[in-house]
């Protein structure tokens, strides 16, 4: 029996080894880093212990900018992408012809390289003054009589619009996939009963479909919030690696900038920023769970 137990641990050894070195230890270390004041890659020693790193980060205008950008991105893309995914999934589940085709097409953004396709979005929205080319999207805008806009190097809201659009484009495949299978799992009996009763389509949706898929909708909201708060690669793909100069940095981008590159060498600041991000995500997730439990409870009480 003793030998048996040892054998199991041997099977687990590689996994445990990698997890301890690259996940458990770093998790403890990041907390230590964040409280070590004055530590840089060149100094290698801390001058004190305290919350100095957090206050420095929270007063850094680049961090405030990154915080603002991330919150705007989250506030726009999470509801928009979830709503759009619901609309598309409802459409998909109501048709038979071409359904497979649409499903395949909609999934394509999931299997593309974020950096590579982001470059295509950049080219589509770009407006190159020097060469006189206005780009594809601006050609459309001009065709409909609007003024051309520089979406990549222009005003803040134009840049944010492109970033939101690209983010929605990237995250939609996952949401459509989840919602389509959630819709498919709603029992046909309920719909048939509603049909016999002559219930309107809208009422059927709000009273049968929506409650039945609401757990999946909440799941998408939670994963959507978490994913959007961690946005980074999409912004790099559109605006390049110098995100601070473009004014389009995100919290994760700020963490990496503090760690490496021209403004890098400050793992303590990076750790403090990463922990702030972690607590924001944790708070939002807890709020989400509370709201979900409240709604589920009310739904049950209302029916009784």
């Amino acid at each position: 029996m003793k030998k048996f137990g040892l054998k199991a641990w041997l099977y687990l050894l590689p996994a445990i080894l990698f997890l301890v070195v690259f996940m458990v230890y770093p998790l403890i270390d990041v907390v230590i880093y964040s409280f070590e004041e004055g530590f840089t890659t060149t100094s290698q020693t801390a001058t004190g212990v305290g919350i100095g790193n957090f206050s420095t980060v929270l007063r850094d205008p680049y961090f405030i900018q990154a915080l603002k950008n991330t919150f705007v991105l989250v506030a726009i893309t999470v509801p928009v992408s979830t709503g759009l995914a619901l609309l598309i999934s409802l459409g998909l589940s109501s048709i038979k012809k071409l359904r497979e085709f649409f499903q395949t097409v909609y999934f394509l953004p999931y299997v593309t390289n974020t950096l590579a396709v982001g470059l295509v979005f950049m080219m589509l929205f770009n407006k190159n003054e020097s060469s006189g080319s206005v780009g594809m999207i601006n050609t459309f805008i001009r065709f409909f009589g609007g003024p051309t806009i520089d979406f990549i190097n222009g005003p803040y809201w134009a840049k944010m619009l492109v970033l939101c659009l690209y983010t929605v484009w990237i995250v939609l495949p996952f949401k459509i996939l989840i919602l389509t299978s959630a819709l498919a799992s709603v029992k046909k009996d309920y719909y048939n009963a509603a049909k016999v009763d002559g219930t309107s389509k809208f009422r059927t949706f709000t009273h049968i479909t929506l409650p039945m898929i609401s757990p999946m909708l909440f799941y998408l909201f939670i994963t959507g919030f978490i994913g959007a708060f961690k946005a980074y690669s999409d912004a790099v793909a559109l605006f390049g690696t110098k995100l601070n100069e473009a004014g389009m940095n995100t919290i994760v981008g700020y963490v990496y900038d503090k760690l490496y590159g021209d403004s890098g060498g400050y793992p303590s600041y990076a750790s403090a920023a990463a922990l702030i991000l972690f607590f924001i995500i944790l708070t939002i997730t807890v709020i989400n769970l509370i709201v979900r439990n409240k709604l589920t409870y009310k739904g049950g009480g209302g029916r009784a």
Partner: protein, 292 residues
């Protein structure tokens, strides 16, 4: 009342139904267009010559003249390191996935089949690691890899991503579907645990293992953040970083058609993989994959 209802329903269904159906198809086609247009744009642009692209004030929907010069320059011209990036990424993806499969098969087998003290606690600890965002641990990993002098090496690229708690969990579930009787029969025959794992468990869970492999390869092909942190030497660049380099410091600054050709070449392998394993990929992703 009761007599009138079905009639009304039918009327509404045929008249409003057709208009509604058309609306649904219109909406679906519109989104399909939104998804496909970037792909269409990159393909047609990649076939335009540099000269004709630069001369366009408004981009042409169809190239006036088609050329494959962009593609031949990507592979023929040694100053463009794209083939190198592709080879690096393929190597990175294959080795990372191979090591990961070994690690997770062993761990999943221990959880699914072997009994040992503290099994439940260890499993719960494993699961709790799933909640930890990679952004939190990447800082120390960067320092660790730097201290080990593994910057700009494949080992440094590969090591932090060869374990996945989620895939261990997925595989454990699949291993548990193999009936106990099969295991007991093998034990009676004197088959060792390891032999049983390799000869029986792995082949019986082939489907899940293939799903895991494909998802991991996709993840490797697209990885950007970690490689960018630890590789500065272009000889170790992966495609994501490579394309960013081409765009910011290479020919991409000027020659958009050549850059689009590079984008097409980077995108094609995954799209082909997706079209072949469409069902497996979609099933795997719906079981808990999110794009990180």
């Amino acid at each position: 009342m009761r007599d009138r209802h079905p009639k009304d329903l039918k009327k509404q269904y045929t008249f409003g139904g057709i208009a509604g159906k058309a609306g649904v198809y219109f909406m679906l086609a519109l989104w399909a267009l939104m998804v496909l247009f970037p792909f269409y744009f990159m393909i047609i642009t990649s076939f335009k010559s540099y000269g004709s692209y630069s001369a366009e004030i408004t981009p042409a929907i169809v190239p006036k003249t088609w050329t494959v010069a962009n593609y031949s320059s990507l592979f023929g011209d040694s100053s463009v390191p794209l083939p190198r990036y592709l080879l690096n990424t393929a190597f990175f993806a294959i080795v990372t996935t191979a090591i990961m499969v070994v690690v997770i098969v062993l761990a999943a087998f221990a959880f699914a089949r072997l009994s040992f003290r503290g099994k439940n606690i260890v499993f719960v600890l494993f699961l709790s690691l799933m909640m930890i965002p990679s952004e939190l641990v990447i800082i120390t990993n960067f320092v660790t890899i730097t201290d080990l002098n593994l910057r700009n090496t494949y080992l440094g690229l590969i090591l932090p991503s060869v374990t996945s708690v989620f895939y261990i969990y997925l595989l454990k579930e699949s291993f548990e579907l193999v009936p106990d009787e099969v295991y007991k029969a093998a034990k009676v025959d004197g088959t060792s645990d390891f032999k049983f794992l390799i000869r029986i468990m792995v082949p019986m869970s082939k489907s899940t293992i293939i799903t895991v492999i494909i998802l991991k390869v996709i993840e490797c092909w697209n990885s950007y953040v970690w490689p960018r942190l630890i590789t500065r030497d272009p000889d170790h660049f992966l495609v994501s970083q490579g394309i960013q380099e081409i765009r910011e410091n290479g020919f991409g600054k000027e020659n958009v058609p050549a850059m689009m050709a590079a984008v097409v070449i980077i995108s094609v392998p995954l799209i082909v993989l997706f079209l072949i394993f469409r069902r497996k990929i979609m099933e795997g992703v719906s079981r808990g994959g999110t794009k990180g």
